[in-house]
Amino acid sequence: MANEEIRAGLAEILEEVAGVLPGDVSEEKSFTDDLDVDSLSMVEIALAAEERFGVKIPDDELANLRTIGDAVGFIEKAQAAA
């Protein structure tokens, strides 16, 4: 799946789970600091992303995904490995 497509999918999940406006979602934004996503919402986002993108995002990996770019990169790599 292309990088752009993953980012768009992630933006939809963020809007649904945490009410983040799609226009606010860009590569360098931090989930916690910029988008005000709390730790439990991060889990909900991970679960939704796992289903949507067919990947596994364990909690210890989740802790390393600080920005949208980190998450897109992780999902891209996980998909390529699958």
Binding site: D38, S39, L40, E44, D59
Partner: protein, 321 residues
């Protein structure tokens, strides 16, 4: 060998609750640690909780709740053959709470033991209570969930001190009204001991610790299937449920499981908002409040679902008293 001649079904005959007097609001906690009303409400859905007094023990709270349930049942102490206390917060491993509770309520020489399945304890205890009645081991059972989490939580740890609280809830379990009636459905239960590190109190000098994200992920994904299994075992479709009373762990967990359950007409217990997480006391407390408010008619099917450290989980459909 022989078994008792007529073996009745079991049902919940009455409910009782004890909510400690001290109300602790989020603002009270914000004055002591780095947190806020908004932060707590958005993460766990709690507005206030009750803390037991310094001299108010698990047994004291269990006696208060158990006494109310017994009075509401119309039975006398002599009618009770078994006392169970679900708890994971006794100050010491022995003596257990149940014999003391029985003695203080004037229940003479019943079978008495504690059930420790952490926050799932009430549903485990309810299964044991129902079995005792249906096998003829006891005519009536007093089951209390009683917890003093504040003894085991670091009051300065903002990740746990905002969640856990104290209280007790009780039920009297006795024979069903008719031989055909099943008032306590078969339990759906299980455990995952390989996840023991997720929630624990390491030793007697340690405080309760939990891996918030891991617990949240587990609770929001693994438990809805257990809830559905409990319905299936009872022969009740989720759509027929009058209420869903899960362990009051976190409002977001409760709402997530309720969404997946597919019971749009069921009232969902949200006692956590002003009771906090009271571990094995949370289900009978929530059930007692629903009954008090007149939210549920007698004989309505309600799904209970306990889950917690262990990890352990158990659920069953019951009819309201």
């Amino acid at each position: 060998m022989k078994t008792p001649a007529s073996v009745p079904g079991a049902r919940i005959l009455a409910l009782g609750e004890h909510r400690p007097a001290t109300v602790v609001t989020n603002h009270d906690l914000a004055a002591r640690m780095d947190t806020s009303d908004e932060w707590i409400r958005s993460r766990v859905g709690i507005a206030s909780r009750r803390f037991a007094g310094p001299n108010e023990s698990v047994v004291d709270m269990a006696v208060a709740a158990g006494g109310k349930a017994l009075a509401a049942s119309g039975l006398s102490a002599a009618d009770v053959d078994l006392v169970l206390v679900a708890t994971c917060t006794m100050p010491s491993p022995m003596p257990t709470a149940a014999p003391q509770v029985a003695s203080r309520l004037g229940i003479r020489a019943p079978g008495a033991y504690d059930v420790n399945a952490a926050c799932a304890g009430f549903c485990y205890g309810l299964s044991a209570a129902a079995s005792a009645v249906t096998t003829g081991a006891a005519r009536n059972v007093l089951l209390v969930g009683a917890e003093k989490l504040t003894d085991w939580v670091d009051p300065t740890d903002r990740s746990t001190a905002i969640i856990f609280a104290d209280g007790a809830g009780a039920v009297v379990v006795g024979p069903a009204a008719t031989p055909e009636e099943v008032g306590i459905g078969p339990v759906a239960w299980g455990s995952a001991g390989d996840r023991m590190d997720t929630i624990h109190i390491k030793d007697r000098r340690s405080f309760l610790w939990q891996e918030g994200q891991a617990v949240f992920r587990w609770a929001t994904t693994a438990l809805a299937p257990v809830a559905l299994e409990a319905c299936e075992r009872a022969g009740i479709a989720p759509g027929e449920l009058a209420a869903f009373v899960p362990h009051q762990a976190n409002l977001r967990i409760i709402q997530a499981i309720a969404r997946t359950l597919g019971a749009p007409d069921a009232l969902v217990a949200t006692d956590i908002v002003d009771a906090g997480n009271t571990s094995s006391a949370s289900i009978p407390l929530a059930l007692a409040r629903m009954a008090q408010r007149g939210d549920l008619p007698s004989g309505a099917p309600v799904l209970l679902l306990g889950f917690g450290a262990g990890l352990t989980y158990a659920g069953q459909v019951v009819l309201t008293p």
